[in-house]
């Protein structure tokens, strides 16, 4: 199968959807002349014009607010956040408007929109350009949150997000953009929102992960397999509301669970997953539930500190070994 990058996969998704549906438009900073800060919108301005690929002022509040308003007026817009770190600026629009409009108005409208949010560490991006904040949205009813870990899922999931009548936040790790992978040449490729995927089967322990950490989860599983552990790896894909069933099924089989994400361990999504298992499947557990995540500090600038901050493959390996 052909290989394309993660960024290209998202480009294809947008292009295919925009060709079919002219209510889709994209708004964000530096789209028109640069194709987005990571090139993930390249070519679209030429293809669809700057009426549909809109360069906005540095007004994150207005970007998300306007996209919500446009969705209420019948469009299916996409907003680009530039860096997920800037979502704090527009948190009111996200949680008090976008997430609640359908519900608090008694179902009078849909709010079909996607927020694309590039997140995660990037070489020395430092405190305000490196964060993973997906856990914030987990307790906010009315939003769906997804985070693909590879090009094929990126394409199928972005298409699903665009087609969804519910508002979707699409976290995409900045380090994934250039990674290549097989993506079927299928205009109808859809990765359903709400479903996790068992990407590797195993019997002794389950690793639940997502986004960029999937790479380390798989690396760790290979290391561990060589040492005789049979590791199952689940890619969460949809972070909120997450697919409890798939995780529970896996834990019932393996009896051990490690959750890994790049976000700070404390307060991360791992807490929710661990809690669900500790409530619904504790009797199946043969070991503590271990969470691997970044250290509890802002992201430091210096490479040595950034490296100390970052969660690593070895943390997963050691975490799992400690369970036996």
């Amino acid at each position: 199968m052909r290989e394309i990058t993660f960024a290209e996969a998202t480009l294809e998704a947008m292009k295919e959807e925009m060709e079919k549906d002219d209510t889709i438009f994209i708004m964000g900073e530096d789209l028109a002349r640069q194709g987005g800060i990571f090139g993930q919108f390249k070519g679209l301005p030429e293809m669809f014009g700057t009426e549909r690929i809109i360069d906005s002022p540095i007004s994150e509040t207005a970007i998300v607010g306007a996209v919500i308003g446009a969705a209420l007026a019948g469009m299916r817009p996409i907003a680009d956040m530039h860096f997920a770190d800037f979502m704090g600026i527009t948190m009111d629009e996200i949680f008090n408007q976008m997430a609640k409009i359908r519900y608090m108005f008694g179902g009078q409208t849909i709010v079909p929109m996607v927020i694309r949010a590039p997140d995660g560490l990037i070489r020395s991006g430092a405190a305000q350009h490196s964060q993973s904040i997906e856990a914030w949205f987990n307790g906010i009813p009315g939003i769906k949150v997804v985070a693909p870990s590879n090009p094929a899922d990126a394409k199928g999931l972005l298409k699903a997000a665009i087609q969804s009548d519910d508002p979707v936040i699409f976290f995409e790790n900045k380090d994934l953009y250039r990674q290549s992978g097989e993506v079927p040449e299928d205009e109808n490729l859809i990765v359903p929102i709400g479903k996790a995927k068992v990407v590797k089967e195993g019997n002794d322990v389950t690793i639940v992960s997502y986004s960029i950490m999937m790479k380390k989860a798989l690396e760790a599983s290979e290391i561990l397999e060589k040492e005789g552990y049979s590791v199952e790896v689940v890619d969460l894909i949809t972070l909120s509301p997450f697919d409890e069933e798939t995780v529970i099924e896996s834990v019932k089989k393996t009896h051990r669970l490690l959750i890994a994400h790049e976000a700070v361990k404390r307060g991360g999504l791992g807490g929710e997953i661990a809690a669900v298992i500790a409530e619904k499947a504790i009797d199946y557990l043969d070991a503590p539930i271990i969470r691997v995540g970044a250290k509890f500090t802002p992201v430091p600038f210096s490479p040595t500190l950034e490296n100390a901050y970052r969660p690593k493959t070895i943390d997963i390996v050691n975490g799992i070994k400690s369970m036996f």
């Binding site: 438009f25 009426e51 549909r52 906005s56 002022p57 007004s59 509040t61 207005a62 998300v64 607010g65 306007a66 996209v67 919500i68 308003g69 446009a70 969705a71 209420l72 007026a73 019948g74 469009m75 817009p77 009111d92 629009e93 008090n96 408007q97 409009i101 359908r102 519900y103 608090m104 108005f105 008694g106 179902g107 009078q108 409208t109 849909i110 009813p141 009315g142 769906k144 969804s164 009548d165 519910d166 929102i193 709400g194």
Partner: protein, 319 residues
């Protein structure tokens, strides 16, 4: 003078006033739950502005949204039921006073977040521009709301892209307990239009004809694709900030004096009677009809059932 239009003005203003008085009563009694902010004394604004709009145009409202909702054409029975928390209300009891909406007439919602509507209205205008219609979007906002960052971001965006959105300021001199001049850098909020290169006008917001005429110009400008405007309606908040407000921050006399001078309904009524546009009889008939309509709405609301507990999970996600 256009008799039909003037009758409409009177009916709408009187309907809002009557609605609000009943709501005040039920809110005091605790039968209407939650926070309630009344529009009494400001009826001319919603009435005059919305008289220029069709159902295909949008409005974004505020926490003080009953007047806008009625003026945009929503039904008082479903409104009343919503405010009572009943399942027959516009939002099935999920919204209440601060989250009343009627999407079928382009009323995109009251908002409990002060200044929350600026960017949403701008986005609705952007949608219409992309679609190529000549529909417009109007956002109502208070003097207090004009100090939110959303005001600035929305106005800049709307101006650069010449979006069909009109920013209607309801300057009632108070933001909750705070006199607006103590927190606002300009006496006339319309002065801020200069920073966006757009027109900003001041209107006597208690004169429904003036409101109608001046907002017509701004709306027309927006429809023609010439971009946004600020229309600042000078008015005064007659009632407490919310029903139950002890109003320790101003004297009863101040309020009484201002109300006597400015009451938009009384002024309009005197004028149309004096000029013979409408007769005492005609006005009485209108009033009776409206009182009956509101009475029926109250009855409908009171007789409607509360939502059942199972309805809690409805209308959250589509898929």
């Amino acid at each position: 003078m256009n008799k039909e239009l003037y009758s409409q003005f009177y009916k709408t203003m009187f309907k809002i006033r009557t609605f609000e008085k009943r709501i005040e009563e039920f809110s005091m009694k605790g039968e209407v739950p939650g926070f309630v902010h009344l529009y009494i004394g400001e009826e001319a604004i919603a009435t005059g502005v919305c008289a220029n709009l069709t159902k295909n145009d949008y409005i974004q409202s505020t926490h003080r949204g009953h007047g806008h909702t009625i003026a945009k054409g929503a039904k008082v029975d479903k409104m009343m039921a919503e405010l009572f928390g009943k399942r027959t209300g516009y939002c099935k009891g999920k919204g209440g006073s601060m989250h009343i909406a009627d999407f079928s007439v382009g009323m995109l919602g009251a908002n409990g977040i002060v200044g929350g509507g600026f960017t949403l209205a701008t986005g609705a205008a952007l949608a219409e521009k992309i679609k190529g219609t000549n529909n417009v979007s109007v956002v109502f906002f208070g003097d207090g709301a004009s100090n939110r960052g959303t005001f600035h971001e929305a106005l800049n965006m709307a101006s650069v892209w010449k979006l069909p959105v009109v920013f209607v300021c309801e300057n009632n001199e108070w933001a909750s307990t705070t006199p607006y001049l103590t927190t606002t850098s300009v006496k006339d909020i319309s002065d801020r239009a200069v920073g966006y290169g757009i027109p900003g006008v001041i209107v006597d917001g208690n004169d429904v004809e003036k409101v109608y005429e001046e907002s017509a110009k701004a709306i027309e400008r927006a429809r023609k694709g010439e971009g946004p405007s600020i229309v600042e309606m000078k008015t005064y908040r007659i009632k407490g900030h919310f029903v139950g407000d002890p109003e320790m921050y101003r004297t009863k006399d101040e309020v009484k004096e201002r109300f006597e001078l400015t009451d938009p309904i009384r002024r309009f009524k005197e004028k149309v009677l004096l000029e013979g546009v409408l007769s005492e009889n005609e006005i009485n008939k209108m009033e009776e009809e409206i009182i009956k309509e509101i009475d029926d709405a109250v009855k409908f609301a009171m007789e409607s059932p509360f939502p059942s507990e199972e309805e809690l999970f409805e209308d959250l996600y589509v898929d």
